[in-house]
Amino acid sequence: MTEKKKSNELQSYWSGNRELRRRWAKLRRNKAALFGGVLILIYLFTALFGPILYPGNPSAPNLIRSLETPSRQHPLGTDELGRSILGRIVHGSRVSLLIAIGVVSLGLLLGVPLGLVSGYYGGKVDFGIQRITDTMLAFPGFLLALALVAVLGVGLKNTVISVGISMVPIYIRLVRGCVLSVREQVYVEAARALGTRDVAILMRHILPNVMVPITVQTSLGMGTAILFAAGLGFLGVGVQPPTPEWGAMLGSGRAYLFHAPHVATFPGIAIFLAVLGFNLSGDGLREALDPRFKL
């Protein structure tokens, strides 16, 4: 029994986990990344268990209690319609997480294959994809999302689509750049010499070797997605009321900034902390995973 356990340990020690373990150790030593990770955990916990933590409809108005300052019953006060701000932030975290996941999935789903194809095949395909990417990157990202909303219309689904598409060129560029260097590796040439089909080369040899920058960009992209979605909500063209959405809460609180500042402040802090979490851990991941930062 102990013999078997020992050999298992030896097995995992030798099967490449050592490298992973060192990276993990490096990530843990990074205090900023750790703090970011804690923020993400809190955020995920809030989003997943929000309705249990704070039951009831966060959108039901109670006009008698509008614009109350923080109290025991409403720890973060109430907004102009007398709804608990804490409750709306808790429920709003679900909305923003949904958007962030949707946006990043869309970005990955479109950006990664296009980047792979563009970088691997080169030539006319690459030229075509890159000119489209150039055009999209010429617009500031948020402006592009805003323009897409103007075309598609408001709402949760269209927010995801427009912010997601505005992030696609970032992924295309990133993946293409990495593919260009991996493509020239001798093991890719070896795979071709072994009669491996292009699709298999892309999936077996190239994609696994560009996963690190994709992972980092995914973490950073979650933060950006939350920020962009909140921006659209703030302008009133994102997720529509009465759905609790952080950006929209910030936008509606703006009117009472002087005599009830808590209405805008607390959703702002929520956005800030969520984005900060993803950015810090994204930077930490980059440092831990990038082979150029030697251990």
Binding site: G16, Y187, E189, A190, A193, L194, G195, T196, N209
Partner: protein
Amino acid sequence: MVAGKFSAGYGTDGGNSLALLEVHNLRKDFPVRKGLFSGTRGSIRAVDGVDFELREGETLGLVGESGCGKTTVARCLLRLIEPTEGEVLFEGEDLLKMDREALRKVRARFQIIFQDPYSSLNPRMNVGEIIAEPLRNHTRSSRGEIRDRVCFLMEKVGLHPEQARRYPHEFSGGQRQRIGIARALALNPRVIICDEPVSALDVSIQAQVINLLVQLQEEMGLSYLFIAHDLSVVEHISNRVAVMYLGRIVELATDQELYRNPQHPYTQALLSAVPVPDPEVQQRRIVLQGDVPSPLNPPSGCGFHTRCPERIDLCTNEVPAFRDLGNGHWAACHLR
């Protein structure tokens, strides 16, 4: 040119074994671009009309100094880079005329071992996956069959099958090269191009890998095109040797003939540089003057005339023909 049965038989000693691989007038130009918007400035002629053939069960050594086009020849043969022109006949079929799928299938029987055992293995795949890759590409074997075959191959090249789960970075250079060899052997190829398979290894390991290659050749009836810049390594393993200089083969003969009776001045200079482990022997070292000319602007006539100690006027004007000097000894020199 009609190939196959009518071919001249460069540098063979009258043997009548069949040519597995025939190369005719292989050329590769690399365009050199000037800037972003201008066209090509010229081209580097890396391989300039190479002819040879590889017979069943033999080892043909291909030697020459760095940059003479040895590796480019290897990559052109497998179409890892596209040759500019020429013919590469493998088992009588021209690889350069094949479509992608036909070429992919041929590659099962025509393999390559790379120079650098560090970069030629995917760091994210374990050894079992690396060796199984050709099997997954070309056969419909079940998982169990593939596993058995991988174990068999690992044992064959002197690795322990228990190491199949390990990753390349956990192996030494010599072991990695064995992994590369096992991968090349997976589908029972007939021809293997060895592109300087030992030059990245320690001398003590070189002998082990060379001996493994010799042993595998005897067991499996392989034919090798063995590329190297180390003449003693080539002498040990080859039946015939071709010497390349500036994109051309300048001399081709059986290894004994070439080492005892070199004809081309370049080969003579090259061989005079090989150290002889005998203090009694007085060596006459031929030291060549100058550098290898740039392939961007190759010299007129014979490519070697700028450095040749025996140069005559004809050499600067006319490219010497690659002629049979008798006894299967071929050379490209006006003076022979």
